[in-house]
Amino acid sequence: MATRLFRLFLTGGLLASGVVFSTLSHAQSNDVLIEPELKRDVVTEADINSNDFEFGVVAGFVSIEDFSSSAVYGLSVGYHVTENLFVEVQGGMAEAGKTSFENLSGGAPLLTEDERDYQFYDLSVGYNFNGEIFFTDGTTFNTDFFLTVGGGSTSFGGDNKFTLSLGAGYRVLVTDSIALRLDVRDRIFSSQLTGEKKDTHNLQYTLGATFFF
């Protein structure tokens, strides 16, 4: 029974592929017959410069929980999908300071120099609330207030930690392709560097210049 079914299936398959093949070859021969002598359109949409990608450099301060605040530098690359929605990767680094305990006790440091390197990346989805800012009657710039939510990784204290990243920011488009940005982000990861395990909030605010291309 099984063999018969299998043979039926095989015959069916062969027939079907035969039909497909013959239609394909038929279609091909048709194509050859009516191939028109078209001149390629010179202009395509690709010729027009699109500004959907955003590349930026940012610098600012980060307050690493328990380890004081330090300067932070980073790069970002974003892609604007619709007039409201964008996705963005941001990466950056800072050097953590000392805890209050280390400063006051003057004892052995909690972390080595290498372990104080604070590096992160995160991938966020953002939503733009489009707007305008009026500096004078005649000077207007387009702006976006935006909210972001994302996830990523933070390397700190010798380990990589999964990090939730919540952000808000403001973008002023100086020209169509150059923007200034103010970003505030809370990067949340769990840590037990100071004893008990806890969720640490690492607030960072940065100023950035971005370039649309």
């Binding site: 027009i48 959907d52 999908v81 991938l123 207007t140």
Partner: protein
């Protein structure tokens, strides 16, 4: 730093080479907005027969300049109703479900869980036929006791590529690198790398423009040197952009 300058130089050169295109309006009129979004106010209208210059685009909006030098933004669907100098319609590259079905490359990002750890993945796929795609992925899973990095290459079979919502199946292979956390390293644990096999199912849904969402479950088998294989369950939700 040098890399940054190189990228900047590249960007500036790409802008310098931009082309402007002359078109003629064929609709009764089209509104010009002050910015590239429908929220921006319409401040000017171009009329039928008027020649306008298309300068640049941003997420489906086009910056245009009228003969009198007024600059503003019009949406792509308005530009689609203009004609070029040789009476041909302006070829707008519309990103819709048809374009999605003919896509060639796709980039995806995922967030999810591998057993009890949070995991993030980035994938790049080459769509070989409407049904079959080859995909490579990098995953970082950060747990309390270890950090896992996975790379996998896989073949993906989409059952019904012409449906907006379609299931798919995957088979893949790669490697997993497990690094114990600093506290465990002190007690003698070491980094190890194992081969990895993957079987997965998922669904994808075409959303809008270049976007689709994907939900996946994968059964990962790590070929360890111990007697038993290590089985991992991965769940993830992500979105894809196609080109």
């Amino acid at each position: 730093m040098r890399l940054v300058w190189m990228v900047l130089a590249l960007l500036i050169s790409s802008v310098a080479s931009a082309t402007e295109v002359q078109v003629t309006v064929v609709e009764p009129y089209a509104d010009m907005h002050t910015g590239p979004a429908s929220e921006y106010p319409a401040f000017h209208a171009v009329e039928r027969g008027e020649a306008i210059t298309v300068m640049s685009s941003h997420t489906g909006w086009y910056k245009v300049r009228t003969a009198r030098g007024v600059e503003g933004w019009i949406p792509g669907n308005a530009l689609a109703k203009t004609i070029l100098q040789d009476n041909k319609t302006f070829p707008i590259d519309d990103k819709n479900f048809d374009a999605f079905q003919q896509r060639l490359f796709e980039v995806s990002v995922f967030a999810g869980r591998i057993d009890n750890t949070n995991a993030l993945s980035a994938n790049a796929a080459w769509i070989i036929t409407p049904n079959i795609a080859a995909e490579a992925s990098l995953t970082q899973a950060l747990g309390e006791f270890s950090e896992n990095r996975l790379w996998l290459v896989r073949l993906q079979h989409t059952a019904f590529p012409d449906w907006r919502l379609s299931p798919y199946f995957t088979l893949g292979a790669g490697q997993i690198q497990t690094t114990p956390t600093a506290t465990l390293v002190q007690s003698g644990a070491e980094t190890r790398t194992n081969d990895l096999l993957e079987v997965g199912v998922g669904v994808r849904y075409y959303l809008i423009k270049q976007f689709s969402v994907r939900l996946e479950y994968k059964r990962l088998t790590a070929l360890t040197e111990r007697d038993a294989f290590e089985e991992l369950n991965q769940w993830q939700l992500g979105f894809s952009v196609f080109f």
